[in-house]
């Protein structure tokens, strides 16, 4: 499993893959001939799925996640499982139990996280496509830092069956690729209802069969670059906090869109000042519940002799890394008697406020635009010892997950030789609008 055992090619030097296994897809299909890398928290039958954790070092799922089934049916060939922050907890892919992934653009820097291995696989040319998961920005963040495209779908568009849960009310599986059209084609393959996942959207119709928002959509076709007449809202709060070098690239990209016929308007999202706090309280609370399943009995590290509680606690001490323990403990604290109203309940209020703000802003514009990340990719080791600074990096991406909306990150240009991502946010199930806007930035 360690990078030292792998062949000394580029991907091994970058520590992109945790497992390199090839599984051919169907002979024909919309993704035929494409290779795909899959984040290691998405279950693959017969292929070790570790979530970047020592807890699951030996775990081999007996079934495929729905998205894995669908990409294989669509013809894509699986080429490996990608490194990630342990259980998706992190923004730099440095918390993996199997060592950090390096950014292909500059190997001294982080690739972003938590889907850093998936973004790096695409950026390094090791796969045409990749699947990641986005709980608070984990597809868009590494897409921005590695200079590729990433889409976070509306909550409920894509099945989460077979995704190892971290914060289940926030996370969606999302595509990464070199172009908007390729990412959208992958979304076409994975979107749709799934009888195994009750959180996929499924609208019962009074007369006739139930319908799903992806039934009548062709996301790849929406990547036509035709944005003439589109209104793009710019939330001032999410631009002001970004580094100057990032803002400069962002504003150049906006000016370019205006030259293509886009009208830009300023919008305000006053609630976002509290979004990061609310996000972490909710994500950590859900993590403390979801990760209770790791008890070393059905899978995971055996806790050894003693009574249940002793064995359970020892299994988790050995199996979980620092960031996972930190979040499970903070989540347990936030949900404990005496603190529930102070943290969890207020976080839910903030979440409702964020949703309302986005609804109002999106009544004035077709999509919203922000820098994806407020900073350029940091060097490895710069943020590890200060959890709070790491959490603040997510300011522009987490509000979207709180509101369950779709968003895309596309490369907008470079600053200091490093990629800068531009994010577009759309109304619920308005993937076509963000894909269209993103494709116009590419041109």
């Amino acid at each position: 499993m360690s990078a030292d055992d792998a062949p000394a090619d580029d991907a091994a030097d970058l520590n992109v893959f945790l497992a390199r296994e090839t599984v051919a897809g169907a002979d024909d299909g919309p993704l035929a001939g494409k290779t795909i890398a899959v984040k290691d928290n998405i279950s693959t039958e017969g292929i070790r799925t570790t979530c970047g954790s020592a807890m699951l070092e030996e775990y081999v799922p007996p079934y495929d996640a729905t998205v894995v089934e669908r990409v294989r049916e669509a013809g894509a060939t699986l080429v490996g499982k990608t490194n990630m922050d342990e259980f998706g907890m992190g923004g730099t892919t440095e918390t993996s139990a199997y060592g950090p992934t390096k950014n292909p653009v500059d190997p001294e820097r982080v690739p972003g996280g938590s889907s850093g291995g998936s973004a790096a696989a695409v950026a390094a040319g090791e796969a045409d496509l990749a699947l990641g998961s986005d709980t608070g920005g984990s597809v868009r963040n590494p897409a921005a830092f590695c200079g590729v495209v990433g889409i976070k779908p509306t909550y409920g568009l894509v099945s989460r069956y077979g995704l190892v849960a971290y914060a289940n009310s926030l996370e969606q599986i999302g595509p990464l690729a070199n172009t908007v059209e390729d990412a959208a084609a992958l979304l076409d393959a994975i979107a749709g209802p799934d009888e195994h996942d009750a959180t996929t959207r499924y609208d019962a119709a009074e007369d006739g069969p139930a319908v799903h928002p992806a039934d009548d959509t062709e996301y790849a076709a929406a990547a036509d670059g035709d944005v003439d007449g589109m209104t793009v809202g710019v939330p001032t709060e999410l631009v002001e906090g970004a580094d100057d070098a990032v803002v400069e690239v962002f504003e150049d990209a906006l000016a370019d869109l205006e030259a293509q016929g886009v009208e830009t308007v300023e919008v305000s999202l006053p609630s976002v000042e509290h979004a990061v706090q609310a996000y972490y309280v909710i994500a950590m609370s859900e993590a403390s519940s979801n990760l209770a399943r790791f008890d070393g009995v059905r899978y995971g590290v055996d806790g050894g002799e003693g009574n249940w509680n002793e064995s359970f606690a020892r299994s988790r001490e050995e199996g979980f890394g620092d960031e996972v323990k930190r979040r499970v403990l903070l989540g347990t604290y936030a949900l404990s008697a005496g603190y529930h109203d102070k943290y969890y309940k207020k976080a839910q209020d903030a979440r409702a406020w964020v949703k309302r703000d986005f609804d109002e802003a999106l009544s004035e514009a077709d999509v919203l635009a922000t820098p994806t990340m407020p900073v350029l990719p940091p060097k490895r080791g710069e943020s590890l010892d200060d959890p709070l600074s790491l959490y603040l990096m997510d300011a522009n991406t987490v509000p979207v997950n709180l509101a369950n909306l779709p968003a895309i990150s596309v490369p907008a240009g470079e600053a200091e030789g490093l990629p800068v991502g531009m994010q577009f946010v759309g109304p619920a199930f308005g993937e076509e609008a963000v894909i269209r806007a993103g494709s116009a930035v590419e041109q």
Binding site: A278, N307, E317, Y339, P387
Partner: protein, 101 residues
Amino acid sequence: MTTTDEGDDGDAGAVDPDEVRHVADLARVDLADEEAATFAEQFADVLDYFAALDEVPEVDDDPDLVNVMRADEVRDGLTQEEALSNAPASEAGFFKGPKVS
């Protein structure tokens, strides 16, 4: 968990290593002494930051939800062998766990 004293010094995030240990007990995670001390310092920063949620107004959230039911039909699941395939210990077709008490 000790309850917060409203009249305290106002440092919302103050936690000591004993409190961290108590939460770790609730969460069933063993901690080394060093870890408890480090977490206590980091939790103080993070909880101070979370305290800004006090400023959030109450917001009504009435999502437009309907119950969607599926037919209650028997479906294939994992085989017993598959379900047990990742267990560190099993016996006679069952998971083998530690004593409950």
